[in-house]
């Protein structure tokens, strides 16, 4: 006789990834690090923005980059100019970073750098509007970029990332005059599904809007450090 049993799991499909992400976050919390997961479609301007961010904030905070969007070694080299640890992750053919890959990066941080000295880890995710939003890596906040060239309707069509993000950067605003695009409509579309999101318009080319972005990061790092200390007491 053939007996079948039923195991009610009710487990999140991403259970294993989530466990890994929580574990990563525990490391960051123990070391007093704030981690940002930076996501967008390919070419929205993540790497250029990271360069600007390193240039502006490296004197204020000790920063490291986990780079998951390497087209070539050149990307990592561009970032290394700023004298911060840059850890490239080989994502293979995967279209997003997962917590295990980032754990690999954390392992390198732990053994080759001094993680307790760090304040901020910036993770550049693989260029993709769909999946990275579902795979947490241990971040304290999610940052989504959307360039003005991508069109107003992208948030409606790829809602999950925009619904999950804590901060939206509408990038390449210097190009807006050449396009038939309504910047307010992008923001409205995102706020339809995420009314609490912080939205910043910026251009890495002209520098417009970068200050509010640096302020947002600085506040988050300080706030998070306070929370981390409070939890340790």
């Amino acid at each position: 006789m053939h007996q079948t049993f039923d195991a009610a799991l009710e487990l999140n499909l991403l259970h294993a990834n989530q466990k890994g992400a929580d574990h990563n976050r525990e490391h960051f919390d123990r070391w007093g690090i704030t981690c940002l997961n930076i996501m967008s479609s390919p070419g929205a301007g993540k790497t250029v923005l990271l360069e600007q961010t390193l240039a502006a904030l490296r004197d204020k905070f000790n920063i490291a980059v986990i780079e998951g969007d390497m087209t070539t070694e050149l990307d990592a080299d561009r970032l290394r100019q700023y004298d911060v640890p840059v850890i490239p992750i080989n994502t293979g053919r995967s279209c997003h970073l997962d917590s295990k890959m980032v754990a690999g990066g954390i392992h390198i941080l732990e053994h080759q750098h001094n993680p307790t000295d760090l304040d901020l880890v910036l993770v550049e995710n693989v260029g993709n509007l769909v999946c990275p939003a579902e795979f947490e890596v241990g971040e304290h906040a999610k940052v989504a970029l959307l360039s003005v060239t991508e069109g107003e309707d992208k948030p409606l069509k790829y809602p999950v990332m925009f619904q999950e993000a804590d901060c939206l950067l509408i990038t390449k605003t210097d190009l807006a005059p050449y396009l038939d695009i309504n910047l307010d409509r992008i923001a409205d579309n995102v706020r339809q599904m995420n009314p609490k999101i912080k939205i910043i318009y910026l251009s890495a080319k002209t520098g417009e809007g970068l200050e509010p972005w640096f302020d947002w990061i600085s506040n988050l790092v300080k706030q998070n450090a306070v929370n981390q200390l409070a939890r340790q007491i």
Partner: protein, 138 residues
Amino acid sequence: MHETDMTKALILTVKDWYRSQAESVKIEKIHLIVGQFTCVEPLSLQFAFEVQTRNTFLEGVELIIRNIPLIAFCHTCQQEYKPEIGLQYSCPDCNSPMEDIRSGRELKIDRIEYSSITNDCNGFSRSKGFSRKAPTVY
């Protein structure tokens, strides 16, 4: 392409469960619940699952996917509504933003149907007959 990775995650999670079983079991069906407001496309997931489980302990296992629609609750109107994915997420009656998602974000393994490989005929089996609601194992 992302279904490949989602399937990997599914296989890892099931493997965790599989290894945690005291006795060896044969998995027969995996029941999934997939919300509409996720990045998972059920058909692609089915396909990826079939391909990626070939020659593994999950080969031939049936994947049964239940779709859950996106339902939001509008606090202004005090009622549920179904946002139109791709078009509009705010409340169709009062335009309030979608803040409270009631369903549609699910991505879970609901249950696993399995049979015992060691055929213990001496009354130690954990369930009688063809019970579909055996005690929760996990």
